[in-house]
Amino acid sequence: WSLPLKSIHVTFPGDIIKNMTDMELAQSYLTRFGYMEKLQRSGFQSMVSTTNALKKMQQHLGLEETGQLDSATVEAMKQPRCGLPDVAN
């Protein structure tokens, strides 16, 4: 029997992309690229905002519009991309 590998996550100095949870990644992505800001101004609660922002992002990037943080959406958020916001504010 081999012992299961114990994976250790280290915070590397200078590593700007930290080991974020998917939800943290989503919040950061949706805000950075302009999906969140407009919706937050309208006073919805955070969860509603996130769902709508996710839908908007999924629509914009040609993904299935589930409003959920599904694996395809998380994967898209991890892709290298242009820094210009998708939604102008």
């Binding site: 250790i8 200078g14 992309i17 242009c82 102008a88």
Partner: protein, 560 residues
């Protein structure tokens, strides 16, 4: 496609750009070429022209930077954000910024352009073998001076072709030392340094002094990245240190241990545990050409598209044979219209990768010894017996005249077919009436029929004035007349009398052939079109003398 609010666009079609600095990852010539090609993506389909400025303020100022690089939108280290650009306008508007924590390549892994050696600046060939060992990176093996080198063919033992790889021991980038190499050790603020350092800077770029005392001489330059260097992390540009210790374990290769994202990394000192110095191992990198083409789309007024295959889609995907998606074409043409007629200013050339040299000619021509795709500028291009001939430095290639996909043969040695000719041929044409071949080199010309020839004779014999020192191009007009080009003018020669017509000539090339370069390198007739050739580009004219296409000789007329 989408445009910015208010359809922001340039109010002039002659857009200028300026490259403010270079990434240490990619040779400056490759960078210049990638940007020029990225602009051409757009100028191919719109009436825009792009002219490079070397100082002053250009419409599009291009720079590389890391993290917080002076605008309100900091980059985020390696991967994630690659670049951004601002829509057209004054000041920062129109500018394009590239994240220098990325590994900039042409999209398929390290591209290492050599210097010095005997390969005339060719790219490294990875892997290559040297004394029975295979190398996938530059090496210092076999040298006592610690300079990294590589073979530019697969087998150094067989071909003996090599060049030196980027190294701070060979040259520096930018700074104020005219590319002088680093001097180690050097003194900076009283402390001695044995290698490049980021000390004293807050932008993360590695630098060195080019004399042994920076405090006294103030001479410095930035260090080029070696191909073995890490990117990102906190040791950008430093090589991996193998073995290294991480959490008490020793590692001889890059590892993804300790990371949740599976990316490979290494330490740049013997112990990560002690020094915490690390970076990501080199991967395929991002194509500077593709990212630049996308960013220049923004700089011209296009916002992100939601069509995944479009260039203006926000995510990066590498594509080998890039062509602009119809959505991008529709977007840019919505702003600027379609390109019709000639491009008034040709793209500014970058320094050729291969410089012309006269070397001892080998007895047999190895096709690999002279690669047509590495010839940036041909001595002349002409049509003989309906085949297109490309001459360069004592060699020629022949492409059959059947469309653009005709078979390419060569290289052949000029001296084996036309023994009297010199190495450099400035112009050539076939007299359609007699089948005689005329060759021009400097102020001399030769006339060949089969293996017999006449010459060399002085071009004054053709009636050209003594002020004409060279015939740069020759273009057959009908059965009896040939136009001879020199400088900005051309003369008409009657092949029956072998004299230029005195009346009405010379004429200005651009007055007759609007839209072509004022001093073309050559002109020829091929497949029913007239072509003018200048630097690496051609201008194709219809029978009514309208330019209907401008392109690269290499990519359109040759299978490169």
């Amino acid at each position: 496609y989408k445009t910015f609010e208010g359809d922001l666009k340039w109010d002039h079609n002659d857009v200028t750009y300026r490259i403010l600095n270079y990434s240490p990852d990619l040779d400056s010539e490759l960078t210049d070429d990638a940007f020029a090609r990225a602009f051409k993506v757009w100028s191919d389909v719109t009436p825009l022209t792009f002219t490079r400025l070397y100082d002053g303020t250009a419409d599009i100022m291009i720079s590389f930077g890391k993290g917080d690089h002076g605008d309100p939108y900091p980059f985020d280290g390696k991967d994630g954000l690659l670049a951004h650009a601002y829509p057209p306008g004054k000041g920062i508007q129109g500018d394009a910024h590239f994240d220098d924590d990325e590994n900039w390549t042409l999209g398929k892994g390290p591209v290492v352009k050599t210097r010095y050696g005997n390969a005339e600046g060719a790219l490294c060939h990875f892997p290559f073998t040297f004394e029975g060992k295979s190398y996938s990176t530059c090496t210092t093996d076999g040298r006592a001076d610690n300079l990294p080198w590589c073979s530019t063919t697969a087998d150094f033992g067989r071909d003996k072709k090599y060049g030196f790889c980027p190294s701070e021991l060979l040259y520096t980038i930018g700074g104020n030392a005219d590319a002088a190499p680093c001097v180690f050790p050097f003194t900076f603020e009283g402390k001695e340094y044995d290698g490049c350092t980021t000390e004293g800077r807050n932008d993360g770029y590695r630098w060195c002094a080019t004399t042994n005392n920076f405090d006294q001489d103030k001479k410095y330059g930035f260090c080029p990245s070696r191909d073995t260097a890490v990117s990102g992390g906190n040791s950008e540009g430093e090589p991996c240190h193998f073995p290294f210790t991480f959490l008490g374990q020793s590692y001889d290769a890059c590892t993804n241990e300790g990371r949740g994202d599976g990316r490979l990394w290494c330490a740049t000192t013997a112990s990560y545990d002690d020094d915490k110095k690390w970076g990501f191992c080199r991967d395929k990198g991002y194509s500077l050409f593709l990212v630049a083409a996308h960013e220049f789309g923004h700089a011209l007024g296009l916002d992100h598209s939601n069509i995944r295959q479009a260039l203006m889609y926000p995510m990066y995907t590498y594509v080998e044979d890039f062509s602009l998606h119809r959505d991008d074409v529709a977007g840019i043409q919505y702003l600027y219209g379609r390109r019709e007629g000639p491009v008034p200013t040709p793209p500014r050339p970058t320094t050729p990768f291969i410089s012309k040299t006269t070397t001892t000619t080998p007895k047999t021509v190895d096709p690999n010894a002279k690669d047509i795709c590495k010839v940036n500028k041909f001595d002349t291009i002409t049509v003989i017996k309906k085949d297109l001939y490309f001459f360069s430095d004592g060699y020629y290639w022949k492409k059959s005249g059947r469309g653009n996909n005709g078979e390419l043969k060569g290289p052949f040695r000029v001296s084996e077919r036309w023994g009297a000719l010199p190495t450099v041929i400035d112009a050539a044409f076939e007299d359609l009436l007699t089948g005689y071949l005329y060759f021009f080199s400097g102020s001399q010309f030769w006339v060949y029929t089969g293996q017999s020839y006449v010459g060399p004779r002085n071009i004054e014999k053709l009636g050209l004035p003594a002020s004409v020192k060279v015939v740069q191009g020759a273009l057959q007009r009908g059965k009896y007349k040939v136009l001879l080009f020199s400088g900005e003018e051309y003369w008409r020669m009657d092949v029956k009398t072998q004299k230029v017509d005195e009346k009405g000539y010379p004429r200005y090339t651009q007055n007759t052939f609007g839209g072509v370069p004022s001093q073309p390198n050559d002109a020829f007739q091929f497949n029913g079109h007239t072509y003018f050739y200048w630097d690496r580009f051609y201008w194709r004219l219809t029978s009514t003398k309208l330019v209907d296409r401008v392109g690269y000789v290499k990519y359109d007329l040759l299978p490169c």
